[in-house]
Symmetry: C2
């Protein structure tokens, strides 16, 4: 906890060399006599020198910071990814700067502009809505990785989870347990994840020769409140159903509560599955069967990958698997 106004010049004097030599030692980008090198390093050590980031940035053009654009800080899945990103960058010398795009194109472009203004060396977009065109422009400008979004043509700069198969597995699980009338509460209509999950759901039904009943398809917005609303309107319709596949865990929480308020038990009367597997889901009542998104891993993978990109190497990014976590919110249907 000590401050220092030691500059490279001080080091140079102390070691009896020129600024240039000190700089070379520090960045080892040229051959320096081992003995000189040693002297310089000792001077650095004993004076507790730390390079001034501004000067370095101004001269070299690199900032050693990366911009992270997230959507809705405070939502469980994005928080997991952020956590992973931070972990992924610790020890690499890069510092992440976080900004919030709030799921709004214009806001997102704004904050990206801010980041560019700050001369970040790379960019990680967690989700987001901006157009492929903007994305491509961005990529031309600096190393960029998109997480939680599958962008055509970005094969090795995308980390995303296979929403389709996750939803497929979840729905299939319900079907295997005897459910035929499976409602779905979708996420935000134009949201890519939401669309994929719906497709997985539809495919699973179709593969089991169950006709998709439009009356069992409800719209939501990923919030618990929207789960409540959806269940209420579903009950109004009077259609019978024995299971609900929810866009995410928060929606599932809302759905469960709404059902309970009407005296409908979960899972005895109606089964529920969610998506995300946020931390709370193991402990709610009943513990929620859900599809686990490896948010932390995704963030970590993205960070490590970006570091490689920024160093001019290429990187391979794995497609993350969304795995079903079977818990207690789904029960077997005994007799129809």
């Amino acid at each position: 906890m000590k401050l220092n106004d030691i500059t490279i010049k001080d080091i140079a004097e102390r070691a009896n060399v020129s600024k240039s030599t000190v700089s070379r030692v520090l960045n080892d980008l040229a051959i320096v006599n081992p003995k000189t090198r040693q002297t310089v390093l000792e001077a650095v050590e004993s004076l507790g020198y730390q390079a001034n980031v501004f000067a370095r940035g101004l001269a070299s053009g690199r900032s050693m910071t990366v911009g992270i654009v997230t959507q809705k800080i405070g939502s469980p899945f994005y928080d997991m990814m952020m956590q992973g990103v931070i972990q992924g960058f610790t020890g690499t010398g890069y510092s992440p700067i976080f900004v919030d795009g709030q799921w709004e194109q214009s806001t997102e472009l704004d904050v990206i502009r801010t980041l560019l203004g700050r001369k970040v060396d790379g960019l990680i977009l967690l989700g987001g809505d901006i157009s492929q065109k903007d994305l491509d422009t961005l990529r031309d400008r600096l190393p960029t990785i998109v997480v939680g979004r599958d962008v055509p043509g970005w094969e090795n700069q995308c980390v995303y989870v296979d929403n389709f198969s996750g939803a497929y597995d979840a729905t299939r699980h319900l079907i295997e347990f005897g459910h035929r009338n499976i409602a779905i509460i979708r996420g935000i209509t134009h949201h890519q994840d939401a669309i994929r999950r719906f497709q997985g759901y539809a495919q699973a039904l179709s593969d089991a020769s169950i006709e998709l009943d439009p009356d069992l398809v409800l719209d939501g917005n990923f919030s618990a409140q929207s789960g409540i609303l959806a269940i209420n309107s579903l009950l109004m319709r009077g259609k019978s159903f024995s299971a609900v596949f929810c866009a995410n865990d928060m929606v599932a929480y809302g759905a469960r509560l709404a059902l309970q308020r009407k005296g409908i038990r979960v899972p005895e009367d109606v089964s529920i599955v969610g998506f995300d597997d946020q931390a709370e889901s193991s402990y709610v009542s009943p513990p929620l069967t859900t599809v686990r998104q490896p948010g932390v891993e995704m963030g970590g993978v993205a960070a490590k990958g970006l570091v490689k990109l920024m160093q001019g190497e290429t990187c391979e990014l794995p497609v993350m698997k969304a795995e079903l976590q079977r818990r207690e919110s789904v029960s077997r249907i005994t007799t129809p």
Copy 2:
């Protein structure tokens, strides 16, 4: 989404003035002829000029970034505060850099050093463990605000919630509902918040002339898992109890689950109250009675306050009130 390598020199040429004048207009720290000013601004506008942060930082010493030290990204309360911090800074021109101290003194000092190396203009510590001495040193060096921690002598640089009275109110609520045998699952032993909450609990009991029974005091670590463990060991002791005050909501979730697993109903058999009021708590079963910590507000207040400090003004920081949210996890005791 357009890149620009426009420098102040380009603006100067375009407007037929010197770099100095452009700089003056941009920072309006000297009188400039309105007409000249206008010309410069037009040039800036039409070329889409954006100042280079490195150059500005190097010359002025200010970075327009602030460091935010958090503990455990991904934990609900810290996430709320982060969210508030981000909101608080948007539009101020300052960008937050987040680092994670992980509730470890040495890590925390490390990351703070990193931030200092990045020449942040100010610091917000969300929670944390570092010594008052280090804190004081830090404060001498640059504007600093501590959130979620009550530091003696830092009257206007601390944002914290009154844990004592929050816990007091929660316990008192249980007492008013007829409970006498109230267990408590504490947070991490040396954690200040945990200590205050325990004191509030103890005081409420004492004020109601209920003797504090050491057998009803359990230790936990703020995790759901620790709630489960605590309940199990409480049940082993064979002591009877009708209510549990939990260190935070996650612990309450765990506790509820553990009780249910033993066939004990909440709230019919045992009442539970938590602390935090994280987003899920309204929707779990039963909706959790808990003490609301205004995390987002706290983060926002801290950010706004820090901006004032960085501008050389003083700031007044309110003590945040922790308010009891009455929901359905507490029931009246009818007959003993």
